[in-house]
Symmetry: none
Subunit: 195 residues, 4 copies
Amino acid sequence: MAKPNVISKDALIKCAKESLANNGINKFTLKSVAEVAGVTQGTIYYHFRTKEQLLLAIVQDISKNSWADISQKSNQYIISEAIASAKNRCSYDSYFHKLFSTLLVSSFNNEEMRMQLGEIVLNENNALTQNLSKFWPKSPIDGVSLETWGVLLTAIVDGLALQALLQKDFPVEKTYKEVEQLFNSLSNLLYEENQ
Amino acid sequence: MAKPNVISKDALIKCAKESLANNGINKFTLKSVAEVAGVTQGTIYYHFRTKEQLLLAIVQDISKNSWADISQKSNQYIISEAIASAKNRCSYDSYFHKLFSTLLVSSFNNEEMRMQLGEIVLNENNALTQNLSKFWPKSPIDGVSLETWGVLLTAIVDGLALQALLQKDFPVEKTYKEVEQLFNSLSNLLYEENQ
Amino acid sequence: MAKPNVISKDALIKCAKESLANNGINKFTLKSVAEVAGVTQGTIYYHFRTKEQLLLAIVQDISKNSWADISQKSNQYIISEAIASAKNRCSYDSYFHKLFSTLLVSSFNNEEMRMQLGEIVLNENNALTQNLSKFWPKSPIDGVSLETWGVLLTAIVDGLALQALLQKDFPVEKTYKEVEQLFNSLSNLLYEENQ
Amino acid sequence: MAKPNVISKDALIKCAKESLANNGINKFTLKSVAEVAGVTQGTIYYHFRTKEQLLLAIVQDISKNSWADISQKSNQYIISEAIASAKNRCSYDSYFHKLFSTLLVSSFNNEEMRMQLGEIVLNENNALTQNLSKFWPKSPIDGVSLETWGVLLTAIVDGLALQALLQKDFPVEKTYKEVEQLFNSLSNLLYEENQ
DNA sequence: CATGAATGAGACTTCATTCAT
DNA sequence: GATGAATGAAGTCTCATTCAT
């Protein structure tokens, strides 16, 4: 039978991501991926040596498409955009955070994957720190370095996402509005001090 | 009251938690739980109708032992204690956060479990807010409610834990020192304003 | 469903040996073993951790039942019996030699198995040497030790079996008659020399 | 005459033999052959209709290169040479005997192959008998025909090889020295009798 | 000629679950 | 109460084979 060129590796990864986010890690089977992709399981094995390799490819794909990588170009609204993007991903059904936590849990058994996920977060931190430094010549709070602000912002974004994942009625709008308020107030602190 | 079996339900839950945190959800099998507990699989079925019931029991157990439940009693150092306890749990091998994220991911397929986990987080938020209000008569930043401070603090704690889970060399000490610094600075803002 | 006590480990080994000798290593599947045994594949895994372990158990079983082990008790016809037994096993359809060569080939990928098979052969050699020494106070041919006679006899038995496995019309009767003749002539050499 | 392809049929057979001897029959896959040969699986199918055909080709190739075929030309040291060659092949890692036993086991499911292997052995026997007759005008032992001596010698060679395959420390040198001694003694018997 | 992509059957293995004892 | 033996469905993975290009 053997139709050639039915599917590309990237398409397979996309299908796998879908299957993973929808079914969760428990039901993330190669059969389900194959069904989503409309190919046979054997085809998956032609492209990926094992299921783990496929999971790893998903992680790499996410890394490649991560916000940190995308937002390298300078931009005066970059922080606002970052926060807006984070808010969008903050929901009970967040595809991204479901996927990410699923991968996190998988990574407990796969050191390589864990390292790659770690790097993704690290990049996120660094990107935030770098962009923050464009607004804040120095930290608005003594004793809290700009690097730590990057770390804390990332933590807040992920932590809020976690809460949203677990509470159907989590007040995303309200919370993010106040986060922005907080950010502005901190900026003001700096400004006043400068006067 | 419970008639003590050769192995008690609670002991079984404890073993299950261990197995879950150590092996991850993928290898969380009743066989492995049975091995850890030193009983046979049949015995588990004597205590729990299904595997899901066991997982749910784990969640309930965690809820019962959560920080929020424990720290009801008033205490002037309560916030410092909370932060210290969070810092302790913030590590590459954190039993608690591995367990929690594993349950989170499991809950994507189990609404009841998800709700219970959601409540745990909610209680955590509320406990923090309540304790914060003992220090802060009002929010140190206009436009950011005390409730939101509770939410944000929880988010920070969880978000930092996530980063620590993924980065072997995450600077736990440094970060938490600055978090405390931040907390003190915010308190000072309030105090100065009051002058 | 789960009927208890359907089959014993030993019965399983026996079925496995049958399946192995009949189907050859290529078609030696756990499914086929299960079918022969009238159980499900899962049952096999309850008794043996892997397919390899089952193969190993077969080897051990053969070792336990090997001629060398059985013929420990002294017996004045022991050599004749050994030859008769070897002759019986020497045929185009020899269950034993099919099984043994199959295991031999499997052992190329399994050092433990190979060692155990090696020991079986070694025991066979030693048993033969020991029994020979009851007939031959010394070797009938100068320069050929009794140990080597044991080795050579084993080699002949195995080598003839190999030929019989590959030739439908191999003259088993004739060959073994002449082997016995050879043995007697060698004994005579010793006797004459003694005169 | 054969139009040379990028890879010739013979080269493919050689690679297949290597793969077979190295990996054993279990891992003798067309993929592995293709890898050794540096071509793709499809290419193998261009040369051989099925996997079995390839195995058969291997057998034929061995037959063509067998000692019996090569040593047709008369030679007064032919027996010594045969024994020396047999000794060389007698080792724990013997490529030839690993290959041969693997094919033997495969042939249990393939009558055509089995017949061809049978013929190889038969030729070996006959060649030995023929060469023996150049040294021995008649059998040195009454009741043991020259044909049977050929059969027995082949059996010894194969049987010893089997033992060497299974025992890392099998005393090849010692054993073969004594085999030669045996051969000489038998020759002497004849000579003395003739006096 | 040769290949690369795909297939599908079937292998080994795991595991939640059942049930007679 | 507890267990050990068994089940069967489902999962991961392998491999001979096919075929359009």
